[in-house]
Symmetry: none
Subunit: 402 residues, 2 copies
């Protein structure tokens, strides 16, 4: 990528629409005796589309590096993932709809249980029901009070998960998690790795102690674990960087949070791919950039469930014609990272990518799979450069230099 | 690229000759129902050469970025085009043969016309004849005088175009053009975006006012527009960076200017490809690096004239044996950027590249086209790295590290 200052200089507005569809974790490696999910799935619509598109492979963050969802998406949105690190706490906070300011520090928290000796007996407090979580969060917000000049607020998530936001001056985030990682171990408190983060450390630890006091008569949750404590990254919005009016259509909080971070408007209340497409159609005239996220290809990969991953791809393929009807000037279908079912985890393998738009070179390989993409006319490149390509195909980037 | 300090350390001199031929804008995309210019052209000599060379694709500046001629050439000459930005004024000045010093500020200027209210009535002063341009420039040089401690000189170009060079201490170039961009709009003066550039701003605006005074009784040109006002980049010569003795053979001023910028000797008085080859032969024993520029493949691309672009390629192919007779140790044929005839403009698509020299891997694709190059043994890489490859094939780069 040519850098934010230069991109801003070259970006021009026009009416062309860019649609970026992320099939989360769809990239795969072959299972024993079989193919990858994309190879095994029957995808007549994707295959036909691939025949009139350009194919390639993208490296999500760097060669051989397995990315989390944060950096993998940051790259696809056209930002350098090595420059813009996004703490897990920040992602969670954005996911529950909190708008963070540069003063804020966010942590991902679990309700948990401890015994009288401070040994963690359940890191998830028996996965308490979300309703119970909401009740506990209300109690905490009612009784916590400020910690010095720092305001504290907690936000319930699902089951045992919640988010803490610390708001005040002088909070830095060189911090280690307050989480022993295993049940049966002694509880941990936050530690800091530089003097500038000591105030944040002390504030977080005071929060844990007050929370233990507030919940002392509660069961099963009588403490919490704090993880991924981080400040919101100072990141330029897509509006400023690319001159786009962007909209995100996603079902899971974290992806909405990632999109909100770079300035996207968020479609709320959407929970299936069909609903996502309906929302996309409804909003299609209002924006010039759409990010649509399909979650379950990743979830089934994480579960090691190749069969369901294949079915999810086939379901997307069945719905694809409804997307094509919208006729965006530039369409991109890719994954943020690979989630091979045989690995049951994210991996470093490059993402298959398909781009259809004006001004294409001839694509000779066909079908949409890891191996057809390897032979693709786009070659292999870094995911952080995808936006430059989409912008140029859409006529939204002027010439660099004379 | 490994960086200038390391390249200087590794560069060694020997007698091997490198010939870099730039078929400007030759890279293409397929026309409707047809192929690219390289595919459509009948090029028996290029095809035979491709069969005994290595092929690949280069990204001129970055994925999806359309480069101007400046950055596209800077890359090919082995410099980072994102680090060395070259203002349009500088290119124009170099093109008319001005040797710029680090104190100089150069602007690309148009003779134009304004009415008594300062509204621009013709941005090109009716494309006045070059002779007339020369007369006006002589008048201006005769009457302008110094502006404070800044000397000013103008140089006629073709038709309405000329170059202004401001020479003096303390001139910085964070400046905006003095050009309303459209006729019928009020004239503009130069503005600066930082305090360090205020002296340059004031000097440029005083120049415009004095010029208006000098030309007040002239028609059709009674004012000027100033664009691309810039200082000469502080760039290491190829002699220092690569230890080469370089020579440029080009027909158009801008390309000679670019070559002069990196220290090349310039062959003057050459206006056709045949003359370029004659000049190349004549100078072949004197230098160890030659850059030969073929302009018209780009010009016809810009015109959307695929047929003439094809003919220009065929004409080059016909002359190619005379070049091959010279038997340079390393021969490279490529474009600086693509200029697809169907787009009538530069584009971001990678450049086909052919390199013949000692120590090649086996090339399995054949013919010289965008798609044979996609399958080439060199793969896809950044144009700024081409020089490293040419230097190594020529035995002019020693090992990095022990």
């Amino acid at each position: 990528m040519i850098g934010e200052e230069k991109i801003r200089r070259l970006a021009v507005k026009n009416s062309a629409k860019i649609l970026l569809i992320v099939l989360d974790g769809v990239g795969d490696i072959p299972s024993a005796g079989g193919g990858t999910a994309l190879e095994e799935a029957s995808t007549p619509n994707l295959d036909a589309l691939a025949g009139e598109s350009q194919l390639g492979l993208t490296v999500p963050v760097d060669i051989g590096i397995t990315p989390g969802s944060g950096p993998a998406h940051v790259s696809l949105f056209g930002y350098d993932p090595l420059k813009h690190e996004i703490g897990r706490g920040v992602l969670e906070a954005l996911g529950v709809g909190v708008e963070l300011t540069p003063e804020d520090l966010a942590a991902r928290a679990n309700f948990a249980t401890r015994d009288e000796n401070g040994v963690i007996t359940d890191r998830r407090a028996g996965r308490i029901p979300t309703k119970e979580n909401e009740r506990l969060c209300a109690m905490i917000n009612g009784s916590m009070g400020d910690i010095g000049d720092v305001r504290v607020k907690v936000y319930p998530g699902k089951e045992h998960r919640f988010v803490v936001v610390f708001s005040g001056p002088g909070l830095s985030d060189s911090l280690y998690d307050a989480d022993p990682q295993e049940t049966g171990k002694k509880e941990k408190f936050v530690e800091s790795s530089d003097p500038a983060s000591e105030k944040a450390r002390d504030t977080a630890n005071e929060f844990i102690k007050r929370l233990q006091e507030i919940l002392k008569d509660e069961a099963p949750a009588n403490t919490c674990l704090l993880r991924g404590i981080a400040k919101s990254p100072d990141i330029l919005k897509m509006q400023e960087l690319y001159g786009l009016t962007p909209c995100a259509i996603a079902t899971y909080p974290m992806y909405k949070g990632l999109a909100r971070l770079v300035g996207m408007d968020i479609a709320e209340g959407v929970s299936t791919v069909e609903e996502e497409i309906r929302e996309l159609s409804k909003r299609f005239s209002e924006y010039d950039f759409f990010y649509m996220h399909v979650k379950k290809t990743d979830s089934y990969g994480e579960d090691g469930n190749l069969e369901s991953k294949i079915k999810e791809i086939e379901e997307f393929d069945r719905l694809l014609p409804r997307i094509l009807e919208l006729n965006p000037e530039v369409l991109c279908i890719t994954s943020d990272h690979s989630t091979p079912a045989v690995m049951k985890s994210h991996s470093w393998h490059p993402n298959p990518i398909l781009i259809k738009g004006p001004h294409m070179r001839r694509q000779e390989a066909s079908g949409f799979s890891e191996n057809s993409c390897l032979k693709g006319v786009l070659g292999s490149f870094y995911a952080k450069d995808v936006m430059q390509l989409l912008m140029s195909h859409a006529g939204k980037l002027s010439k660099y230099g004379a």
